[in-house]
């Protein structure tokens, strides 16, 4: 579910800016790191720490939009690629210095330990991740599908030039989308930071997973990205349990290649000819 949040933020940023934000994976790591450091410094419980992390990385998302995305909006997408790669490197190197290269553990959301329901043993933290992830996905769905802000965010994602032509303040919606993408990345980093530790070099891995989820689900499709991320998580878990981690990664990439060869627009993407 945490990967779903990563992929959701990635696709929101992609749709809003029209270019891949290569710093998105590092925003996830930054979220974990902020949880570690602020948690240690303040001793705040996770329920208070979580919105703080979301807010902080949301602000970083706005800075990313202001520094590396909006100023380059009229340039070819490659300019944004390079700028966001530079931003990713800055975040990674800054974290390497701040963390002295040592992985840390983010505080748990719902405490450690497990409990049993009808003979099924459930870990508190994994369950909290699933519940929180589901709530956030539902909240983003509500925002996008049921509010004027969401409709306008989707209009901007569909056609920025036309969105401007009907009077939508496009820059404001790009910033809002990047802020939301950052907040989701921050929450995901917090959740993953307890399960898998926080290490400065993890950004590229998160980025790759999000990229695959979006490519599988359909480039630009929000539900596709969510299902792609959930599919990756389930696939890796089951294959790794049966054959080991190395086989799980290899099998994942083989499946990705197969899907992209057989259905280049992804599982839920619209065929280009059907687009208005």
């Amino acid at each position: 579910m945490a990967y779903a949040l990563v992929a959701l933020g990635f696709v929101l940023a992609l749709n809003a800016s029209g270019a891949v934000n290569f710093a998105h994976g590092d925003l996830v790591v930054l979220g974990g790191a902020v949880a570690v450091f602020v948690g240690l410094a303040t001793g705040l419980p996770a329920v208070l720490l979580l919105p703080l992390v979301a807010l902080a990385i949301g602000v970083v998302g706005i800075l990313a939009a202001r520094i590396a995305i909006l100023p380059l909006a009229s340039r070819p997408p490659e300019a944004t690629f390079v700028a966001t790669i530079a931003l990713a490197a800055i975040i990674e190197q800054s974290l390497t210095i701040a963390m002295a290269g040592a992985p840390r553990t983010a505080p748990p959301i719902a405490g450690s330990g497990s409990f049993e329901i009808a003979g099924l043993v459930l870990g508190r933290q994994p369950l909290a991740i699933v519940v929180l992830g589901a709530v956030l996905v539902a909240a983003v769905w509500f925002l996008l599908e049921r509010t004027q802000t969401g409709r306008r965010m989707r209009a901007v994602a569909a056609d920025r030039h036309m969105a401007r032509a009907v009077g939508i303040p496009v820059g404001r919606y790009v910033i809002l989308s990047l802020a939301l993408a950052g907040a989701l990345a921050g929450v995901a980093g917090f959740l993953l930071g307890h399960q898998f530790l926080v290490a400065p070099t993890q950004g590229a891995g998160h980025m790759l997973k999000a990229y695959i989820a979006v490519a599988l689900g359909g480039w630009g499709s929000v539900p596709g990205a969510l299902l792609g991320a959930l599919g990756i998580g389930i696939f890796e878990t089951f294959v790794a349990a049966r054959f080991g981690d190395a086989w799980a990664s290899a099998a994942l990439y083989i499946c990705v290649l197969a899907v992209l060869v057989l259905r280049p627009q992804g599982l839920f993407g619209e065929p280009v000819g059907r687009r208005a």
């Binding site: 409709r151 401007r164 208005a276």
Partner: protein, 217 residues
């Protein structure tokens, strides 16, 4: 009559349709996009110099735009396309959507359909309804009849003619001169970005040189 638009040698007054004629590359789209603010240039809107206004400010001032190729928001439904394109407060916006759905029955039949599922004619009506959401005083239309079935073209032209009754001004860019002049009061012929002929719709329709002028000869 007062001019709602003046740009170079082209002007449009309240309640009239002006046909902007010319072949491919004549500069029709560039002129419309300059009025909207996508390109720099001196533009007078509603009696004021609008040259420094942003696109958003010009739309808020009362300019509506129907682009060539319709460019509806493909993944949004008909209703969402209309709502997203409006800056009205929520209650008025929803009421205006219902008015648009009633005014365009082919949209009213499928308000929850995704725009990319609509036919070309339905998409054109959606693009027009979208531009009308906030009651613009000036409508800019770029090749609205392109690729439409004749029966839809007739319906579209009838609607455009009716729109001027409340004072809405329309600048209609078209390659199909006879169609545009059939509903316009005046016309302007562009060639390579320059006005090469102007006159009443009747004068231009009777001009034996019109086809040559539009071809840039």
């Amino acid at each position: 009559m007062s001019a709602v638009l003046e740009i170079g040698e082209v002007s449009v007054e309240a309640g009239e349709i002006v046909a902007l004629l010319g072949g491919n590359g004549a500069g029709k789209t560039t002129l419309l996009e300059t009025v909207l603010g996508f390109h720099s240039g001196r533009v007078m809107l509603f009696g004021r110099d609008a040259s420094a206004l942003t696109v958003e400010q010009r739309v808020q001032a009362g300019v509506g735009y129907v682009p060539e190729g319709r460019r509806v928001f493909a993944g949004l439904t008909v209703r969402e396309n209309l709502e997203a394109s409006s800056s009205l407060p929520a209650r008025q916006r929803r009421q205006r959507v219902e008015e648009m759905l009633a005014l365009f029955p082919m949209l009213g039949e499928r308000p929850e359909a995704r725009a990319w599922l609509l036919s070309g004619g339905q998409q054109q009506m959606l693009a027009l309804a979208r531009a009308m959401m906030d009651r613009p005083r000036l409508l800019l239309l770029d090749e609205p009849t392109l690729g439409l079935a004749p029966v839809v073209v007739v319906d579209l032209l009838r609607r455009l003619g009716a729109m001027t009754a409340d004072g809405t001004a329309i600048l209609l860019a078209e390659q199909r001169a006879a169609l545009a002049l059939s509903i316009a009061r005046r016309g302007v012929v562009l060639s390579r970005g320059q006005v090469v002929r102007r006159g009443s719709a009747a004068e231009l329709a009777a001009d034996p040189m019109l086809a040559d002028l539009m071809a840039g000869a």
